[in-house]
Symmetry: C2
Subunit: 247 residues, 2 copies
């Protein structure tokens, strides 16, 4: 069992003419915040390892070497735990947007800067929660909150893309689809990063930015992408492939 250190026998007394009971109170509050954060962090790690539904609060408590009621002393529900993890992850990305607003460079470079931070956030310990938190697992209120945050980020990316098209730093494209593609690629990091940590989050983000920038088509040597005749003849296959499941 785990115990409060310090012997009962008591060292001593109350040193110091209690200059401030507030001091102690602040100390306490700080301790509490630290512990609460530890709970949230432990939850994030367990969710990351086993998924939300396969993680019980007993698991989280065990990981912290305390018991379930102790966990409940710091958070009100499992749901809230997931929510907090989500917010912790997403906050980094919002911050990236705030930072970038001050840069006076073409929009594409601001976008790249955001994407780098985005990638790092997704590869962080809260990445899984941020990316995979399912709205269905949360109360309507929390779900709305999460959706709003996600939407804010999505529209932030779209805005940067539009600005880039305007200032000429980004190739003309559909901002909505492009934003989905970028965010999707980055979000997906959370799925495989756990198993393959050969690169840091920053390195992955950097590699992705390079891919996004350059595209697949070779440059320069005249082979200008879309030679229409070369297209693989879309192969109309009635929209639905003959699935293994009979219709």
């Amino acid at each position: 069992m785990n115990h409060r250190r310090s012997s009962p026998g008591a060292p001593g007394k109350t040193p110091v003419a209690a200059a401030s009971p507030w001091k102690a109170s602040h100390e306490r509050q700080r301790d509490r915040a630290v512990k609460r954060d530890a709970v949230i962090r432990a939850a994030a790690r367990e969710f990351n390892r086993k998924g939300y539904h396969n993680t019980s609060l007993d698991d989280i408590a065990a990981r912290l070497e305390v018991t379930k009621p102790t966990v409940y002393y710091y958070v009100t529900s499992k749901e809230q735990l997931l929510f907090q993890c989500f917010v912790a992850g997403v906050e980094r990305i919002r911050e990236a947007f705030r930072d970038v607003r001050r840069l006076e460079v073409p929009a594409r470079e601001r976008l790249n800067a955001v994407l780098r931070h985005y990638g790092e956030a997704v590869a962080s310990e809260f990445g899984w929660c941020m990316v995979r938190a399912e709205e269905q697992d949360l109360s309507p209120a929390m779900s709305r909150h999460i959706k709003a945050l996600k939407s804010e980020i999505d529209h932030g990316i779209r805005r940067l893309i539009r600005e880039g098209i305007q200032d000429g730093s980004i190739h003309p494209c559909d901002p909505k689809m492009t934003a989905f593609a970028l965010a999707g690629a980055l979000n997906w990091i959370a799925h495989w990063y756990r198993e393959d940590q050969s690169l840091s989050g920053a390195q992955i983000a950097e590699a992705f930015v390079r891919v996004f920038e350059a595209g697949l088509s070779p440059r320069g040597n005249g082979a200008l992408a879309q030679a229409p005749a070369a297209r693989p003849a879309p192969r109309r296959r009635a929209r639905r492939a003959p699935a293994p499941l009979a219709r």
Copy 2:
């Protein structure tokens, strides 16, 4: 209780030279397969709507207007249901690889063809299961199986990228990271497609392929991407942004 499907040797009791006990038997089996597929399809739809863990077999049964034991008559477990949904989705993508092998066009175009089918598969009713089936929810055996299938697809994409680099149809890049970026963007469709069906799967896939091909950098007019001086000065920020959770 797994049922004697077709009992291979099990002759015995039904010698019956009669002209067509087989006929009926085949009819039956076909009916059974149809019903089983309906179960799997209904499961996919419910998983898609509410997530795996928030869907009970009673829900699925209700959706089919039968009862839970009836569902269990066609599948052995909930886990198997998820697995089957996954396989149904992924099979389409494998098929796309097989098809494409026959095309005699540059690798980039074969890759694009695969990506289009990939996108359509992810936007299909099995997309969610294919993409979000978590290994932790499945038995080790099934989990291994799924991993193998995913890996097969991943390496198929990487191979096409390598071939494209060799035949000059794809800009030199890191095949692994590029494959992750492409697959991630497409996989992510499953997350938002449910809510925003303004485009068909094929249209989305097409739009994504365009994004991947062209990249973000403007083309042609001299602004050749990576003017090194233009880079946003990586902003070393100690690798980890000050998170809302105290460390």
